[in-house]
C-alpha cells in the first residue's frame, strides 16, 4: 500500500512541479494561469486579509449543509416509496438515469422568481442536484439486501420496524453511503454553480467576481480552496464507504 501511496504522491507532485515550471518559464502566460505556489500564497493572503472571506465561507457551507440534508432525507424517503411500487420504478427509470445529462441549473432563474435571490433558491437548487443520486442509491441499497437476512428476521420473528432498524438499515448502509457521497458531490456542484450564476454572497460568487475583474490571484486562490475542499470531503466519505463495503461483503 505504501508503494502505491508513494507513486501517487510522485505523480501528483510531478504534475504540480511541471505546472509551476510551465508558468514560471512563461510557456503558460500569467493571464491564463498563475504558478501553483502563488495560488497557495494568494489563498493565504485572502484568508488573512479579505473581510468577506469568513462570512462568505459560512454562507456557502450553511447552504450546502441544508441542501445535503434535504437531498439525503428526501432522496431516502422518495427512494423507499418508489421502490415499493415496482411498476412506478420501471416507468421512472429512464428519467433517473438521464437526469444528470440535463443542466438542472437552467431552472435556477425560475427558482429565483419563486423564492427570491437568497439562500432558499440556492438550497433548493443544490437539493435538486443531489436528490436523484440518493433516490437511485436507496433503491439499489434495498435491492442488495441479502435475502438470507430477511429469512433470519422472519425466523427470529422480528417485527417490521425492528427488521428495518436492526437488519435492513445496517445491510443497506454501504450503498446508502455511496448515495450520500454522490449527493454531497452533486450538492456542492449545485450550490457553487448557483452562486456563480446569480447570488449576492458566497464563495462561488467571489470566483465569478474575481473572473470578471481579471483578478487571477483571488480567482485561483478560491479555485484551489474549492477543489481541495471537494476532494478531501469526497476522499473522507469514500474511505468510510469502502470500510462499510468491506465489512458487509468480504466477511
Amino acid at each position: 500500500m505504501t508503494r502505491v501511496r508513494l507513486w501517487q504522491l510522485g505523480i501528483v507532485g510531478t504534475a504540480v512541479i511541471a505546472l509551476e515550471l510551465l508558468c514560471r518559464l512563461g510557456i503558460i502566460n500569467r493571464f491564463t494561469m498563475i504558478p501553483p505556489s502563488e495560488m497557495v500564497l494568494a489563498l493565504g493572503r485572502v484568508v488573512a486579509t479579505a473581510p468577506w472571506f469568513w462570512p462568505d465561507v459560512r454562507y456557502t457551507l450553511g447552504n450546502l449543509a441544508a441542501a445535503i440534508a434535504l437531498s439525503a432525507v428526501g432522496g431516502l424517503l422518495i427512494g423507499l416509496a418508489v421502490h415499493a411500487v415496482p411498476r412506478l420504478r420501471r416507468a421512472l427509470d429512464p428519467i433517473f438515469t438521464s437526469y444528470y445529462a440535463v443542466p438542472t441549473f437552467v431552472l435556477y432563474p425560475l427558482l429565483i422568481v419563486f423564492f427570491g435571490i437568497g439562500p432558499a433558491s440556492l438550497i433548493v437548487l443544490g437539493a435538486l442536484f443531489g436528490i436523484v443520486a440518493m433516490i437511485v442509491a436507496t433503491m439499489t441499497a434495498i435491492d442488495r439486501i441479502p435475502v438470507v437476512l430477511l429469512k433470519v428476521a422472519r425466523a427470529s420473528r422480528l417485527g417490521i420496524w425492528r427488521t428495518a432498524l436492526l437488519l435492513k438499515l445496517p445491510a443497506a448502509s454501504p450503498h446508502l453511503m455511496t448515495g450520500l457521497r454522490l449527493a454531497v458531490a452533486y450538492s456542492v456542484i449545485g450550490i457553487i454553480a448557483g452562486e456563480f450564476i446569480l447570488s449576492t454572497e458566497g464563495i462561488g460568487r467571489r470566483v465569478a467576481l474575481a473572473y470578471n475583474n481579471f483578478d487571477n490571484q483571488t480567482m485561483y486562490a478560491l479555485l484551489v480552496l474549492i477543489l481541495a475542499f471537494a476532494i478531501s470531503v469526497n476522499a473522507a466519505l469514500g474511505a468510510f464507504e469502502q470500510a462499510l463495503h468491506r465489512r458487509w461483503y468480504r466477511s
Binding site: 438515469t97 456542492v188 454553480a193 471537494a230
Partner: protein, 246 residues
C-alpha cells in the same frame, strides 16, 4: 410484463406528470413556471423552426467531438491503467478525485486557455466525460475473471491480441455502462460550456432565454433536452442490457 402494460405504465406516468406540472403551475404562478400545454406547443414550434436546428447542429458538432475525445481518451486511459495492477491501484483514486471535483468551477480556466468558441465547448464536454469512461473501464478490467487472463497467457497471446480477443469482450458490458455515463456527462459539459462561452448552440439559446427571463422558452428547451437525453440514454441502456444478458 407485457409490452402493452408497460405502455399503459408510461401513459399513466405521463398523465401523472402532466397533472403534477399543472398543480405546480397553479401554485407557483406564470412568473416561475409555464403551463404544460403551452410549453409543449413552444417545443414543437422549435422543432419546426430553422434557426433552432442551426443551434442544435452547433451543439451536436461540439458534442460529437467532445464524445470522441472523452471516449477515446477514457478508453486509452482505462486500458493503460486497468491492464496492470499497480498502475490501476495508483491511478484509480487520482482519477476518482478528479471525477468528483465540481468541474463547473474550472470554466474560467477553460475559457482562459481555449478562448470563446467550439474548442472550449469540446474541452468542457470531454473534461466531464473522460473520467467516468476511464473509471468504468478500469473497474471492468479489474473484475475480469483471472481464469480468462491466465488462459490468454497460456495461449501466449501478445498484449494487443489478449486485449482484443479476451479482455475486451469480457469487459465490454461494463465498459458500455461507462460509455453511457460518459455520454451523459459529455452532453452536460458541452451544454455548460455553451451557457458560458458561446454565441451559438442550445446552451446559448438557454442563457439568452434566462437573461431575458422568458420562462416559456427556458421550460420548452429544458423539455427538449430532457427528451433527447432520456431517449439516447434508453437506447444505450437497451443495448447494454442485451450485452449483459449474453
Amino acid at each position: 410484463m407485457t409490452a402493452r402494460s408497460r405502455l399503459l405504465d408510461y401513459l399513466l406516468l405521463g398523465i401523472g406528470a402532466w397533472l403534477a406540472w399543472l398543480a405546480l403551475f397553479q401554485w407557483a404562478g406564470p412568473e416561475a413556471l409555464s403551463p404544460p400545454g403551452a410549453t409543449l406547443r413552444r417545443a414543437s414550434e422549435y422543432l419546426a423552426s430553422g434557426p433552432f436546428w442551426g443551434h442544435a447542429a452547433a451543439t451536436g458538432l461540439a458534442f460529437f467531438y467532445g464524445c470522441l475525445v472523452a471516449l477515446i481518451g477514457g478508453l486509452a486511459l482505462g486500458f493503460a491503467l486497468g491492464a496492470q495492477r499497480l498502475a490501476g491501484q495508483v491511478g484509480e483514486p487520482i482519477l476518482s478525485s478528479l471525477y468528483s471535483i465540481p468541474k463547473i468551477t474550472l470554466y474560467p480556466v477553460i475559457l482562459l486557455v481555449f478562448g470563446l468558441g467550439i474548442s472550449a465547448k469540446v474541452a468542457f464536454g470531454a473534461l466531464h466525460g473522460i473520467f467516468p469512461v476511464a473509471l468504468f473501464t478500469i473497474g471492468a478490467l479489474k473484475n475480469t475473471s483471472p481464469v480468462l487472463v491466465k488462459t490468454a497467457r497460456v495461449l501466449r497471446l501478445t498484449p494487443v491480441a489478449a486485449a482484443r480477443t479476451v479482455l475486451l469482450p469480457a469487459a465490454l458490458p461494463e465498459i458500455v455502462t461507462g460509455l453511457r455515463i460518459g455520454f451523459s456527462a459529455t452532453l452536460l459539459g458541452t451544454l455548460i460550456g455553451e451557457l458560458f462561452a458561446s454565441d451559438q448552440g442550445i446552451g446559448f439559446m438557454l442563457i439568452r432565454a434566462m437573461e431575458a427571463h422568458k420562462v416559456l422558452d427556458i421550460m420548452a428547451l429544458t423539455l427538449l433536452l430532457f427528451a433527447f437525453a432520456a431517449l439516447a440514454n434508453s437506447l444505450l441502456l437497451a443495448g447494454e442490457r442485451r450485452l449483459h444478458r449474453q
